[in-house]
Symmetry: C2
Subunit: 128 residues, 2 copies
Amino acid sequence: MPTPAELRAAVDDYLTAMNTNDRERYVSLYTIDATIEDPVGSDVVRGHDSIREWWDLVHSLADTIELVPTGPVRVAGREVAFPFQAVATTDGEQRVADIIDVMEFDDDRRIVGMRAFWDPAEARPKQG
Amino acid sequence: MPTPAELRAAVDDYLTAMNTNDRERYVSLYTIDATIEDPVGSDVVRGHDSIREWWDLVHSLADTIELVPTGPVRVAGREVAFPFQAVATTDGEQRVADIIDVMEFDDDRRIVGMRAFWDPAEARPKQG
């Protein structure tokens, strides 16, 4: 089983892939048949090709997306949960959403499943 | 399906039940066959009687346990995730742990399942 330090490093990789807008690095963090449920309650995306389509859709909605951690990564067994804000910038306007991601990893520290807890209706203009 | 406002109120009830040390109120927030996995990766507790035993075990380890929110409740469909610190006081000494709880609710706003993401090895003396 991955160590807590390894899982924290995997979360760092995840944030870096998103924040450097690196789709292929992002996809490589997932197992071949991994699932994404973002937001929780919506249709599940499965597999690398579908994750690429999902990435493209998300990134068609904003010029840039930055994930800013707002607290420590909680590691529990082979799963993690961590809080952050997503800041989406479009034509210079920024919107922010509070999100908690939950991820399960395999023995190779690849993501088996990711679930994002947030409510798109709660997204709001970024202050300051 | 419960509204986001109703689920936020249910989380408030949960925190109040724990912070007022009210076991029966706490148990009443769960469906009759609800599950608790705390921490994630440990054995699952199922049903009101087992939840009572779990409560008693947890509270045998500390004089008081206080849950202090550290960020907003994320609502997604019929599930929530929220970050907090648990502060356990024993013989005047305080230890703190960073936790994220994930809960699923039924239509009556009862908890169907609770999973607590944290690592007991990360608990530490409270500073200040």
